[in-house]
């Protein structure tokens, strides 16, 4: 009996330490690249939405890492007075991203569940807008175009502004990625190269 007591104590201490670690993990401040959703996803009983959001953030970070890796091999997009050089650097980076993601498919970046959340947020936002406000949003959205991954947003059409209040409700993106509207679709673009990274079809109300 006396032999087992220390073992039990060790086991008990181990359980307590493990529990404390668990508590400590749950109370740790969010990492800059993750947040609440990601932390919840790390726990066994995470809700599926949080898991999907964490997965989204992981994929976005993967894209940013890839982009940084590709950009590191090229001349950087840094201030230059030579517009030809600027265009060349942009084109080279775009070509490298396209090449590295040539097999990319819709949904590779935005998980289905997150796409659903984005749909809901946008639908809710537009329900609250007046007809005049809706008209203002759609005014410069390019029409009759279907997004294709790795294609660029046309530079002949304006980049229609995504309403700032709506942006506060959508999942946050890293600095080089942006949500944009194209016809009735939401596209995720690389801000510097205007390459379409992913998209969700038929999100916006008919206009």
């Amino acid at each position: 009996m006396t032999v087992y007591l220390p073992v039990s104590r060790v086991a008990l201490v181990g359980v307590l330490v493990a529990m404390m670690c668990g508590v400590a993990t749950a109370q740790a401040p969010p990492r800059a690249d993750q947040g609440v959703a990601a932390r919840q996803a790390e726990t066994p009983n995470a809700n599926p939405q949080a898991t999907a959001l964490a997965e989204f953030q992981k994929r976005l970070q993967g894209y940013i890492d890839l982009r940084a890796q590709l950009a590191g091999k090229l001349k950087p997009l840094s201030p230059t007075a030579d517009s030809a050089q600027l265009a060349s650097r942009q084109d080279t980076l775009a070509a490298a991203i396209r090449d590295a993601r040539k097999g990319a498919k819709p949904g590779d970046m935005i998980p289905t569940r997150v796409a659903g959340q984005i749909r809901n947020v946008i639908a809710d936002d537009f329900r609250r807008r007046t007809p005049e406000a809706k008209r203002a949003v759609f005014e410069e959205v390019p029409e009759g175009i279907r997004p294709v991954i790795n294609n660029s947003m046309p530079d002949t059409a304006p980049l229609a502004t995504v309403p700032p209040l709506l942006l506060t409700k959508l999942p946050v993106l890293p600095d080089n990625l942006q949500y944009r509207f194209m016809d009735r679709h939401v596209v995720l673009i690389d801000g510097d190269t205007r390459i379409i990274v992913d998209y969700i079809l038929n999100v916006l109300p008919p206009h």
């Binding site: 840094s78 005049e132 530079d155 209040l165 946050v172």
Partner: protein
């Protein structure tokens, strides 16, 4: 006819005007039809600006990047204006390049029309418009230093340049951080989309206004510039702040200012225009010049002291006209 409706009665005030009043110093009636054949050879107008030594002098242009004849004509006037008003820099309200954004576009739509100004070493500070490729921020002559939103200071004036085409929460956080920290006497934000506008085509940018106007009010902003609307408009002060739209320096949306708009203090939508601005101590002098060289609006705006209870103005829900 429409322009006549927008015309103001010009008054000259001898004493400094109270807050909320622009002292109009000079000007031709708004919307006066340009003289036939005058374009491109417009006479240099007599300045209404004090041109004080040591003041901060700059020009404002917006929605410029067409590469068309009108841009070149306004560009020439802007360049000629330096002879009588030696502005030190130019702020651009966005849509710096319409359509193609290739190397030849930078030449045709920016470098050539403003060549004499660039050659004189005058700096341009751009903001991004909805027609602009965000990569323009790396184009050195736009002085954005690779940033979509940034600030820069000239003497007693600090400019806060926003990217209104994509307003992320991070940008708002940045503004919340830098505006209160600024100890500049004058804090002047500018961006492409106007928070207030009487334009029939676009109108006020309400979402953006919801996010940034409280910050402007709380931090003693006196003046805001924007573009997007292809005309010139000076709004009646909104919550104590003067808003200017100068989006007609190369494109014109003729007759687009809503007739009878209660917000318009001065509108000009019958020709292109640009602005000259001078800040001397606690006063901002401005002059708006049409493509045919007429001064179509001018005046003086006194600086609002941060301590002059802006909260009271907001709480009352009144504009300070």
């Amino acid at each position: 006819m429409r322009a006549t409706l927008l015309a103001l009665t010009f008054v000259s005030l001898v004493v400094a005007p109270p807050r909320g009043t622009v002292a109009l110093l000079a000007g031709a009636p708004a919307g006066q039809a340009p003289a036939a054949g005058a374009r491109g050879t417009a006479p240099v107008p007599r300045s209404t600006l004090p041109n004080e030594k040591g003041s901060t002098k700059f020009a404002v242009i917006g929605d410029t990047g067409t590469g068309g004849r009108q841009q070149y004509e306004v560009g020439k006037l802007l360049s000629d204006a330096r002879a009588r008003f030696p502005y030190e820099f130019v702020i651009m309200m966005g849509d710096n390049l319409y359509g193609g954004q290739g190397p030849s576009d930078f030449v045709k739509k920016f470098e050539t029309p403003y060549k004499p100004i660039l050659d004189a070493g005058i700096k341009f500070y751009a903001t991004l418009g909805n027609h602009d490729d965000p990569a323009q921020r790396f184009y050195k002559p736009f002085n954005m230093e690779g940033k979509r939103y940034y600030s820069f200071r000239k003497d007693d004036v600090e400019f806060f340049v926003l990217d209104s085409t994509y307003v992320t929460p991070a940008q708002i956080d940045w503004l919340k951080d830098v505006l209160p920290k600024s100890n500049a006497k004058w804090k002047i934000p500018y961006m492409h989309h106007p928070l207030y506008s009487s334009g029939e085509k676009h109108g006020s940018e309400v979402d953006l206004r919801t996010l940034v106007e409280p910050l402007f009010i709380a931090n003693g902003v006196d003046v805001v510039f924007a573009g997007h609307e292809h005309f010139y408009e000076r709004l009646k002060p909104q919550n104590g702040i003067y808003y200017f739209t100068e989006g007609g320096s190369a494109k014109l949306r003729e007759g687009n200012i809503r007739v009878g708009s209660a917000m318009t203090d001065k509108g000009f939508d019958t020709d292109m225009s640009f602005m000259l601005v001078e800040i001397a101590k606690d006063q901002m002098f401005f002059e708006t010049i049409s493509r045919n060289g007429q001064v179509i609006d001018s005046g003086t705006i006194p600086r609002r002291e941060v301590a002059s209870s802006p909260k009271a103005q907001v709480a009352s829900g009144q504009t300070s006209k």
